[in-house]
Structure formats: C-alpha cells, structure tokens
Symmetry: C2
Subunit: 162 residues, 2 copies
C-alpha cells in the first residue's frame, strides 16, 4: 500500500469512487448529479494537491488538500477524503488523514479545517475526533440529507503546529 500524488490519468480510476459517494448525497457538499468533467475540476484541478492510495495496482482511496481561505486565512488548509466502498472498515481514512496532516505541515499550513461534516455521518465525526479534530462549530439544519432531511453540519478543526 502506498500514497502518491494523483496525475490527470488517475481520474478515470478515481471517478467511480467519487461518483458513488457524491451520487448518494449523504456526505459531500457536491451536487449528486456532478458529471465526470465537473468532478475532475473539483477533485483534481481546483485543489492544491490530490493524492491516491494504491494497493496492488488499484486505487482504493483518495484525498485532496487545499487552502481553506485566502489571504489572512491562508495558513489553514482543508482536506476531503474518499475510500472505495470495497475497501472500507480497514482504517484507510485514518491512514490518509494522518498523511494529509504531515503534507499540510510540509506545505507550511498551521491548521486543518473541515467545513461541512454532516452530523449524521457519525463514523466520520467519531474518526476525526479520535484524530484530534475538535468540533468548533455547528450549522443548524445546513445539510439536506436524502433520507434524514435537514440535519446540522459540523465544522471541525485541528491545530497542527506544535
């Protein structure tokens, strides 16, 4: 298993992971109808860095890293992680999140922020908490879940520098 920077060519292998997650509309603030071209802009072109987690030649996970706010906010980065449905429950999100924190520090960021964690996504909230992220905000009814309706979204934050 290894994590490396994504190339444009990887997008065809990332897309099935991205599409399955985004189409479900349960976790990411992207349009469920996002096309393969729009997805590439979001996941590959717009972020500062995109990484893939490879195992036996397959891509089983991916994450992006970008500056969360420009100018006076540019020391704080933002990441998003996706794991293939076949590869869940094996700690790959943890591996990617720890990797991203190291990369963030190398790139000069001092903190990492998740802007919009659906409160219904209890697995993610639990995992980010375990990895040292604090719930610093709660946005009432800001996430429209396809089954649960309007649920709160959480802002989670971790200071990375010692």
């Amino acid at each position: 298993m290894r994590i490396r920077e994504a190339t444009e060519k990887d997008w065809v292998l990332i897309w099935p992971i991205f599409h399955e997650i985004v189409k479900a509309g349960e976790t990411y603030a992207y349009r469920p109808s996002t096309t393969i071209e729009q997805g590439k802009k979001i996941w590959i072109d717009a972020p500062r860095k995109t990484y893939v987690l490879e195992e036996n030649g397959d891509i089983v996970g991916t994450y992006y890293l970008k500056t969360n706010q420009e100018g006076p906010g540019s020391h704080v980065c933002n990441c998003g992680y996706m794991v293939s449905s076949q590869a869940r429950g094996r700690g790959l999100a943890t591996i990617m999140c720890e990797h991203s924190q190291k990369m963030a520090l190398e790139l000069g960021y001092k903190a990492m922020q998740f802007n919009f964690v659906a409160s219904s996504n209890e697995g993610a909230v639990h995992l980010w908490s375990k990895l040292g992220f604090e719930i610093v905000g709660r946005l009432p009814k800001a996430f429209n879940h396809p089954e649960k309706g309007l649920v709160d979204a959480l802002v989670m934050y971790k200071w990375l520098e010692n």
Copy 2:
C-alpha cells in the same frame, strides 16, 4: 439611495472600495495583493448576484450573494458586504444586509452563513448579532490580522425562513 444589481461596467467604481478594504487585510479572506482582474472574478463573476448601493450617482456600497455549499448544502447562502470609507457610520451595511436577506428568500435560500468573520472586527460581529445572526462557530487563530496577529475567526448563521 437605491440598491440595484451590479453590471460589469460598475466594477471600475466598485474596485476602489474593494481594493481599500482588501489591501488592509483586516476583514476579508482575500489576498491583500489581489489585482483588479482577480477582484472582478471574486466579486462580480463568481457570485450568483452582486448588488450596488447608489447615492447621487455614486456607488457607496456593494454586496455579493452566493450559494455557500453545493448539493446537500445549497439551501444556505453566503454574502459579503463592503461600504466605501467615506460612507461609513450611516447604517449602510444594515441596509444592504436586510436587502440581501430579502433577496436570499426570493432566490429560494433558507439560511445565510458568514464563514469567516474576524473576531477582531467587533463592529461587524456586533452588527450581525443585532441583525439576528448567531455565532455558531469559533475557529481558533484562523485569521492572521496584520497588526493583532493570529485571532479567532467566527462562523455566523441565521435561519431566514419563518
């Protein structure tokens, strides 16, 4: 005094207001070195709507309105307001904020969120609170103020629908 939608031609009159505020680096999460072309993209092209507040043929204030998060978050909008330094202290931000809440409802939004209010910007925090926005998040040391250094940034939120 009237508020109307901005056109591309207005940008040359909006730019001095935008530039003075952004260059100071005390309130907005844009690069202080933002150029006139980049500013136009940020303030005119990217938002869903941009408005100007006109008085005697002059533009004395401006605001944008956009969707804050796509997909499951697309019922929440985000706005940013700027008042010319010559026109401050006369309640123009209040007038624009109230206008923006009406427009947001007309456009189908249910809530409004300010993502990154510098906690050092006490006037703004006080004003938004008075207008019904709640502090729903506090991002520790997320705003790098040119004089005060790292200060907290606030997330403020108002449910607009009755």
